[in-house]
């Protein structure tokens, strides 16, 4: 697999290797070969990609998305989801287990991986359930799931409310050296809330979710990480208080990592004005001060990764009263340009943004990739940093259209996505389907 490809004259940005310079990059045999002035010299190159003016990045890795298969194929499938992934520059995605049935057993994991192999686009790393059936009672069979291919565990969307269960799960997870990804939400504090508890929810009369609903659970996970020594990854951090808790945990040397989503670092709860259900997400959009703290957290590396929480929904899930509408928005195809706005605004360095989309998620999942050193996976994303484009939902590759960024003018566009030395997306089209 993967004939020789020479990517010529691009700006190679690989924070993990400390590289940021114009260079040729040779891919061979599905791996990164040489990098340098004359990387392709003397080699019989099957394909040359002119990359002058483009950025050459390690393939982006999303450690939190929802592919909806099995069970909700009308929203997304592994095929359509990985099409969206490669269109967004992601060469690998980790998919959450809240499918129907949930991914709490090896057959489900294997079915997802089979679909991913058939699609032949992005790498897919299934995330298994923390507890059987996501019921929060009894832990799932991690040994079986890891053997089948799970790379992390989460009951995303269904927080493990029983601290005793979480403690045992964390202890047990150490045997496999996997991260447990915690959707931090104290359901009793959140109640039937649908929006951040603050001035906007008050004005609009939306039932409130206090920041404490997230922060109390982050605090619990930090305490349990200390207790167990296990790897805890905090999903979609959205409040200043959560960022501070993660920072303190890291300062203490605990194995706590965190992610933030493009919507939480881009939007505020002001977007709820007009009751657009496209911005109904969990955790909810927060006020500007929380958004600023999340941005700072990314800039300082307190928040390790940028993850999409790509959550496709159909109109039957969203064209409802605000209370009844499903949580979540799609995000694979807008994540990179939204992250680059942080760079353009001078809030986060480019290398930090790239690292948060590549190396750090690879390390959290414990998977190869996220780096362009010789011998690494030939997973590469080529980006035109100057190209501006308008988000048109009907032209996205995801099966669902639930994005609040319709009509947004974004800068930075994925020009090519290479997985294992094969070009799978180029100039607006998915170019290879099948194994």
């Amino acid at each position: 697999m993967g004939a020789r490809i020479l990517i010529r004259g691009g700006r190679v940005i690989d924070p993990a290797s400390g590289i940021d310079r114009v260079a040729d990059l040779l891919l061979e045999g599905g791996q990164v070969g040489a990098l340098g002035e004359a990387a392709g010299e003397g080699a019989a190159v099957a394909q040359v990609i002119e990359a002058r003016g483009l950025w050459v990045l390690p393939g982006l890795i999303d450690l939190h998305c929802h592919l909806r298969e099995p069970g909700h194929e009308y929203k997304e499938t592994v095929l359509t989801g990985t099409r969206a992934a490669v269109a967004g520059g992601f060469t690998a995605v980790a998919c959450m287990p809240n499918t129907v049935p949930p991914n709490d057993s090896a057959p489900v994991t294997r079915a997802i991986l089979r679909k991913a192999a058939e699609a032949g686009l992005a790498r897919v790393y299934p995330i298994g359930c923390i507890t059987a059936g996501q019921r929060g009672e009894r832990m799932a069979e991690y040994a079986d799931l890891v053997a089948a291919g799970c790379r992390a565990f989460s009951d995303d969307g269904r927080p493990v409310m029983d601290a005793g269960v979480m403690r045992r799960a964390l202890e047990y997870s150490r045997h496999f050296d996997v991260a447990l990804i915690s959707h931090c939400e104290d359901l009793r504090l959140a109640g039937d809330g649908v929006a951040h508890e603050g001035a906007v929810a008050t004005r609009l009369g939306l039932k409130p979710i206090p920041a404490a609903a997230e922060e109390a659970m982050v605090a619990r996970e930090v305490v349990l990480a200390r207790q167990t020594g296990a790897r805890v990854h905090i999903a979609h951090v959205s409040t200043a208080g959560s960022v501070a808790l993660v920072a303190a945990a890291k300062a203490e040397g605990l194995a706590v990592t965190a992610e933030a989503t493009p919507h939480h670092f881009t939007l505020t709860d002001d977007a709820l004005e007009g009751y657009d259900t496209a911005v109904k997400v969990n955790p909810p959009l927060r006020p500007a001060a929380d958004r600023a703290a999340v941005r700072r957290g990314i800039a300082e590396g307190v928040i390790d990764a940028i993850a999409t929480d790509h959550a496709p929904h159909g109109t039957v899930d969203k064209e409802l009263e605000f209370d009844a509408a499903a949580n979540g928005m799609i995000g694979l195809e807008t994540a990179l340009p939204l992250a680059l706005r942080l760079v353009a605004d001078g809030e986060v360095s480019l290398s930090r943004v790239v690292e948060a989309l590549t190396w750090r998620p690879a390390r959290i999942l414990g998977v190869p990739g996220g780096r362009l050193a010789p011998g690494d996976l030939a997973d590469v994303t080529l980006v035109d940093p100057e190209e501006e484009w308008t988000v048109e939902p009907e032209r996205l590759f995801s099966r669902s259209r639930n994005t609040p960024f319709a009509g947004w003018r974004l800068r930075g566009r994925v020009r090519a996505t290479i997985v294992g030395g094969r070009v799978v997306f180029r100039d607006g089209a998915v170019v290879a389907v099948g194994p």
Partner: protein
């Protein structure tokens, strides 16, 4: 004539002239209700659908009487459940309604924003008759009408609103409407009932009833949801009545002419003691009478019959 909106979704976004126009129109409507033949033909041939997803006999009957006095054809649709079940989308509901070709839809719904969502999709005028904890604009307008009728003005008054501000659509609409016409508004209640951001709506927080009473010309006591006790905003009705209720003794802390209001129905002996609710300072029954007049005014203004045919159609605000 300032009124050019398609819908009445809330007080937010209305300008003072529009509020005054409703109040002035309501004054003429009230005359109709005091005649022997309480019916005028201004909405003859117009269809009004009263769509209540949440039980509310008082509000629905008030709208229905207003519709009948204006000779509109009123249709009552009460839908069960607090939200549309999965499978029947809001759009389905909207399409079904549109097929009935109503001129005005009066909508009560437990989910905030639902009137705005339907209004954006339907050519019919939409009146928000209460959406969750968001707004209840006709209640606020009738409160203002009642106060103005008794005291002759709104500007310069200090009005207190006491109780569960956090869950009250009446409180939100009242704060916005009173502030728009130049009143000072104090809100109070136990801490869990004062939501963040209420000050941004223009209210001042004066948590204690005892402190609020001497400062206000009018005191609006809010209904307490006794059903919500499971939600534990307060430990018991007994404790609420004792510490936060308006007893005759507490009322004496207020100015002599202090007026007492309540959006109803009153939990007698909980928010307001019976002798206060029935006493000379109470405007509670006046509010009910004003309600019909204000709703007649709103229906009349939204029906567009007062406008010249060429009048500009404004988009609903809020």
């Amino acid at each position: 004539m300032a009124w050019a909106r398609k819908d009445l979704l809330g007080i937010a976004g209305l300008d003072p002239a529009e509020i005054v126009e409703v109040l002035d129109t309501a004054a003429t409507m009230k005359d109709i209700s005091s005649r022997e033949i309480k019916k005028v033909p201004v909405l003859r041939g117009k269809t009004v659908v009263n769509l209540f997803f949440e039980a509310s006999t008082r509000t629905r009957v008030s709208f229905e009487i207003a519709e009948k006095r204006l000779s509109a054809d009123a249709v009552n649709v009460s839908a069960s459940g607090s939200s549309v079940s999965k499978g029947e989308t809001l759009l389905d509901t909207a399409r079904n309604l549109q097929a009935m070709n109503p001129d005005i839809i009066v909508l009560r719904h437990s989910c905030p924003g639902t009137p705005a969502m339907l209004a954006a999709r339907l050519p019919a005028a939409v009146v928000n008759a209460g959406d969750g904890a968001h707004e209840h604009p006709t209640q606020a307008l009738l409160d203002l009408f009642t106060i103005r009728e008794r005291l002759g003005r709104i500007a310069g008054l200090t009005v207190g609103i006491f109780g569960d501000i956090a869950h009250s659509r009446v409180a939100r609409s009242d704060v916005l409407a009173l502030r728009a016409l130049g009143a000072r508004v104090l809100v109070g209640g136990p801490p869990g009932m004062i939501p963040p951001g209420i000050v941004e709506l223009g209210a001042e927080v004066a948590p204690r009833l005892e402190a609020m009473l001497p400062a206000v010309d009018v005191l609006i006591m809010l209904r307490i949801q006794l059903e919500r006790q499971g939600g534990a905003l307060f430990p018991s009705a007994r404790e609420y009545a004792t510490h936060f209720g308006l007893s005759a003794d507490r009322l004496r802390l207020g100015r002599p002419g202090l007026l007492v209001m309540h959006p109803g129905p009153v939990n007698r002996g909980v928010e307001v003691a019976p002798e206060v609710a029935d006493g000379p300072q109470s405007l509670i029954l006046d509010q009910v009478t004003s309600g019909v007049a204000v709703r007649m005014a709103v229906l009349y203004l939204l029906s567009g019959v007062h406008r010249a045919p060429a009048a500009e159609e404004g988009r609903g605000g809020a």
